[in-house]
Subunit: 341 residues, 2 copies
DNA sequence: GTTAGCACTCATACCTAACGAGTGCTAAAT
DNA sequence: ATTTAGCACTCGTTAGGTATGAGTGCTAAC
């Protein structure tokens, strides 16, 4: 375990490096107000910290830089919660004051503001719709073979899907089906829909005609649609970081961020609380020099989505964590209140 | 006007530069198979071409590089239509073979394929819905104060908007309104909707109650929604270009591309045919070292959307133009056939 | 245990010289 | 009148060599 002084010094080094982006030397630390030792003492401690794996030296005559282990210790033990200033708080409150918005849009704005506030890249995973309850279902035929199935949830989310109609089905039959579905399935949570369709409806429907068998398959398809929506904002912010002035490094990262499915991996699954993945701890090579902080937001106590920040390992962990917590909480409150109406 | 030989040489220089990205010297040109002159002769011609403004010299002891004017002449007069190879054609045909897709999704894939095929950045503007005819309209109340208005067009496009309900309006009244709307407005082109609502419906509605006045405003709002959808793919491709190995240059461009409204400016309005904007000809500083080639695709003869490519001024104009034309035509055919059903 | 002092390391900046790609001009060849 | 060979000249790029200084590690004194 690290001594108090070692912790003090490690903290000072990480802190300094986060703001300067330059390897920090013993003299710099000894000059800090909160440190009362000479550079020689610091040097000795630094040497020890390096031996223990908390610091690294780019080359012999340079200062020290925190290692992944160093950041990890910093995040787990040293970090102090940071308060937001007026302007920042204002922006956040403004977001949650918006009223006439789909929950989806709120999430989109959240990503925007998250990125603006932190100057890092924001990744937000839209709320999973499992918990949402069916408000209305509609099937609109376009021609003899195609129709659009539309599902509206009680929070105002609208999903739609183009479907192929079974041959020989008529408008009136579709209408009958839609009425039946609305009568039986309103207020059923989406995650139960498939099951309920089979349990309650299929029996009744089978009476009508064998086309319904086909129809059922189609319905099933349109109900299980569950597109993952990830919002990415401020992807270019990484280029403001001095350690990413190299096109090749940046390219790998941005190419990664261009792929939606990779974003899903990065952001993780709802349910994990605040998670910090630092540098080497990341699986993907492209972001081994980055850190990702994520947390989930919830709806009625159940986690349904994620908000996250991607930045350099040399990230302002304190601030980012504060902002993320604040936003996740706000989002949760907002969604929950919408949910309970 | 340029002599035949000058044109031949200019063509050779642009061609060479496009593939090498290095200033091209007189010897390089004289060694080409299609050129039968010594380097000295080429030098003299180059000197003339520079004086005329078609070429530029980065510095005295370097070769020549085409100026914007040079590229312009190349594009307008020298370029030869390029044929696509098997693999490329295959990919394009595959796209248009897909059947069960919203037109919106086809457009999205188009951007993807465009970028893959050219190795440049693709920008595609989704089809404007003016021409689309109303198939179905639905208003789903969520609670006492809010509802979702849904508009389905006959091509299967679904628009939805969260709206505030006027106070005191009941579910049955909404239903009556929706029925009225569907009865009167089906098959009306979207661009006429607002007008028709006022002309035909408002009179009848006014009879019911004064709430409808409020309701009308809301409807109007939800019908005029017309979100511009721009699809951007392969934004990072620009980093493959040797002249964009500099983070600062790339940053400006990518930041521009992050802003949806700016993308709209870049891509232009449907209606313009094939347009090439080269380097300095672009308004925005960030892309004065880039060229943009756009063309529109249409629906039933009327232009409704745009496809475009953003690349370095040193772009493979011939190939890009071929691909764009091919895709725009294919898209038009596909949309039109869907439209006519 | 702490600190002052000092030799040592090594990335960076700066300078200079050599190199060579490419030009422009002139004079000879066609 | 063109075209071309020849050659001096320009200037960006590269390589080598040195000075600089930030920072270390070690030792000896406090």
């Amino acid at each position: 375990m690290l001594s108090d002084r070692q912790q003090l010094i490690l903290n000072a080094i990480v802190d300094n490096y986060i703001h300067s982006a330059e390897p920090v030397g013993s003299r710099t630390i000894s000059k800090r107000e909160d440190i009362g030792f000479s550079s020689a003492t610091i040097r000795n401690e630094m040497s020890d910290l390096e031996e223990l794996g908390y610091l690294e030296q780019p080359h012999t005559s340079a200062g020290r830089v925190p290692s992944t282990k160093g950041y990890r210790f910093y995040v787990d033990n040293l970090i102090q919660p940071q308060l937001l200033n007026e302007a920042e708080l204002g922006k956040l409150k403004q977001l949650f004051a918006e009223r006439i918005l789909h929950s989806e849009q709120v999430v989109e704005y959240t990503a925007q503001i998250l990125s603006q506030l932190t100057n890092y890249t924001a990744i937000v995973l839209g709320p999973e719709i499992f918990e949402h309850r069916l408000k209305h279902i509609q099937i609109v035929p376009l021609n003899e073979t195609q129709a659009v199935a539309i599902v509206v949830t009680h929070t105002g989310r609208v999903e739609n899907k183009l479907i192929d109609l079974p041959e020989g089905i008529g408008a009136s039959e579709i209408e009958r089906l839609v009425n039946l579905l609305n009568a039986k399935l309103t207020d059923v949570p989406l995650w139960q829909l498939r099951q309920r369709v089979y349990q309650e409806i299929s029996g009744e429907m089978r009476r009508y005609a064998e086309q319904y068998e086909e129809m059922l398959k189609v319905l099933d398809k349109s109900l299980t649609q569950e597109e993952e929506r990830v919002y990415l904002r401020g992807a270019t912010k990484i280029m403001n970081q001095p350690e990413f002035r190299d096109v090749d490094k940046v390219k790998d990262i941005l190419e990664l961020l261009e792929q939606n499915d990779q974003l899903l991996h990065l952001i993780g699954m709802p349910g994990d609380g605040l998670t910090v993945r630092i540098g080497q701890e990341n699986q993907l090579d492209a972001i081994k020099q980055c850190s990702i902080i994520t947390t989930s937001y919830s709806l009625g106590g159940k986690p349904v989505g994620m908000v996250g920040i991607l930045g350099p390992t040399r990230m302002e962990y304190g601030k980012v964590i504060t902002v993320l917590n604040y936003l996740a909480e706000g989002l949760s409150r907002m969604l929950t209140s919408q949910f309970e109406k």
